[in-house]
């Protein structure tokens, strides 16, 4: 009975709760507990992969807010990551700024660039906007290449940056980074969830769904589109900065259009318009190449030669994009919801018409 009674509420705010059912609370607590205990039970390599997942999830959340919630398509997310990384380089190498200064600075630089890139979105939509973000990508990468080439005059291999430290705590090694990025991702996720269930998030979704109706209700399109771009690029920039710190090396070759497409794939695979989807998509797309690598390791060695593994890894990104768009446009988040609903109904196969949002 308790399962079917979840719709009853005694307080208006309960309809705005993110975690609505008792078992979900248990689930979230379990996931967090597993996340905290996981490093003890697994290898450094796997922890490294999870770190990559967590750090890129911050960027994916940014893109999700922009594309999934505000409906603005962007192929320039790699450039935002690059901006964060190069802000980090400039501040740590030239100025020697500490971590606690660099991250906010990366956020601000990202926000400023987001504002600039957001300006065309006021006039252009759809394909045109996509192309403009592409143009922005090439401009940023050109500037970054020039900077890196001139910075490293006599030798060439990316720019090394030191391990970050907060006061006496040096963030170094996979395990420290794991807990650090886990905490950070949790905070960013909470922020995004809160944004989505309050006024700014509703304004973005209104713009995404019907922009004229949104305007007629008093939503300032200029302001909210720019805000979406700024929040998105801020998160991407911070994510780029953290990834740079994590790998200790920044080189412009990392930030390709392919990377931007992988971020787009993250939100498609995860499910447009879902925070949970952004997290799932980021983890899925980050692990995918390694999973394929792992599958190939079961095959005879000869099969792994040449470009096959890499080719399949590249192709898998495209196939994921196509398959999810065609077959499961709401992504992994929707698959998860169905699994949840299935157990929710159990042992019954059907429940009276259920049209509520989950």
């Amino acid at each position: 009975m308790s399962r079917t009674g979840y719709n009853l509420r005694t307080n208006y705010l309960e309809s705005n709760e993110v975690i609505r059912r008792p078992y979900q609370k248990v689930l979230v607590a379990m996931v967090l507990a597993v996340a905290v205990l996981l490093p003890a039970a697994t290898s450094t390599f796997f922890v490294h992969l999870l770190n990559l997942c967590f750090l890129s999830a911050i960027g994916a959340l940014g893109l999700m807010l922009l594309t999934g919630f505000c409906g603005q398509i962007s192929l320039g997310h790699a450039a935002f990551l690059a901006v964060g990384a190069f802000t980090t380089v400039i501040l740590t190498v030239h100025v020697g700024a500490p971590f606690v200064v660099v991250i906010p600075a990366a956020a601000v630089t990202g926000a400023v660039l987001g504002f600039i890139i957001g300006l065309p979105s006021l006039r252009f939509r759809g394909v045109y906007l996509a192309i403009i973000t592409l143009a922005m990508h090439y401009t940023v990468i050109f500037l970054a290449t020039s900077y890196q080439a001139n910075f490293a005059k006599s030798a060439s291999a990316g720019i090394t940056i030191p391990d970050p430290s907060i006061g006496p705590l040096v963030i170094k090694g996979e395990y420290t980074w794991y807990y650090f990025s886990l905490v950070l991702l949790t905070l960013v996720t909470i922020w995004c969830v809160n944004l989505i269930r309050t006024r700014p998030g509703r304004a973005w979704m209104a713009i995404r769904d019907r922009d004229i109706a949104a305007e007629a209700l008093g939503i300032n399109l200029t302001r909210y589109k720019l805000m979406a771009f700024m929040v998105s690029s801020t998160l991407a920039s911070v994510s780029g900065s953290l990834l740079a710190y994590y790998s200790n090396v920044v080189t412009v070759e990392t930030y390709t259009i392919d990377l931007a497409v992988i971020y787009v794939a993250m939100i498609i695979v995860g499910g447009m318009g879902s925070i949970l989807g952004a997290l799932m998509g980021a983890i899925f797309m980050t692990l995918l190449p390694f999973g394929i690598d792992g599958l190939f390791s079961y095959l005879p060695r000869e099969w792994r030669y040449g470009s096959t593994v890499f080719g399949v890894q590249v192709g898998a990104v495209g196939i994921c994009i196509i398959l999810f768009l065609l077959i499961e446009p709401k992504g992994l988040a929707e698959i998860w919801r169905r699994i949840e609903t299935y157990f929710d109904r159990w042992p019954f196969r059907y429940r009276p018409l259920d049209t509520t949002r989950h």
Partner: protein, 288 residues
Amino acid sequence: MEFAATIVILTCTYALLAAGTVILYKAGRVVNFAHGELAIVGGYVFYSAGLMSGGTSLWFPVAGAVVFSIIMGMFIYMAMMRRLVGEPFYVAILVTVGIGIVLKSAILVIWRAERLTIDVGVTPAIRMAGGATLSYMDIASVVLTVAFFAGLYLFFRFTRLGVQFRGTAENALLASQRGVDVNFVLSLAWVIAILAASLSGVLYGGRAFLSTESVTIGLAGLTAALVGGLDSLRGAVAGAFIVACAQYLTVRLVDPVLSEAVPFLLLVIVMSIRPWGLFGTQEELDRV
């Protein structure tokens, strides 16, 4: 002299790509981001078919490229694009992005990421003052491009199918009510567009080389289409010419390194003055 020749040849490459983009846009309001990949893979297929036939006759590789275009065009439309009616605009775009990635991985898996050149008619045909030369392939690329556009014009203007095509582009619903097989017409649009792209890829493989990097010509072609106006074939040629000129002049007069970014800068300029492109129609702006 050689600068004019280079610009003309570059214009041909881009115009073929832009024409495909325009045809697809007009037919189904789809903007194809995989056009460069289709072009280069078309070139690879041409190359491989040539190898298979022992490199003696041109017919086999040509047939290979045509068969590739037909299968690819039918497949993309019937298996993917047809199912996207009524979806948000970005879905079709992102599906083409996905197609592009899959094609790129095909270059990696099938052709082992090798850089290939198509050595057909590379011997010099015309010698110019200063020692520069033009090959038979260069001349062929201009002739074939002109022939393609002439053929396209005649097709749209004088054939029954061409009229049906234009009708579908105007209003697909109305056309289907009048007995036009819209699915056939739209698959045909994909086939024609990929044919043009493959031709462009083959010509490019003769002059430059085929590799995973050369797919960036697709972006130049797309830019050319946008500069000219997404719904205008004339605009495609004009846009291709403008992009080619801008790129060439940047290499020669400004800084060669910038030539990659130039098409986009040009696009931003054109769009801030005439967002619907030089030859496009204004109301198209709101559709995409």
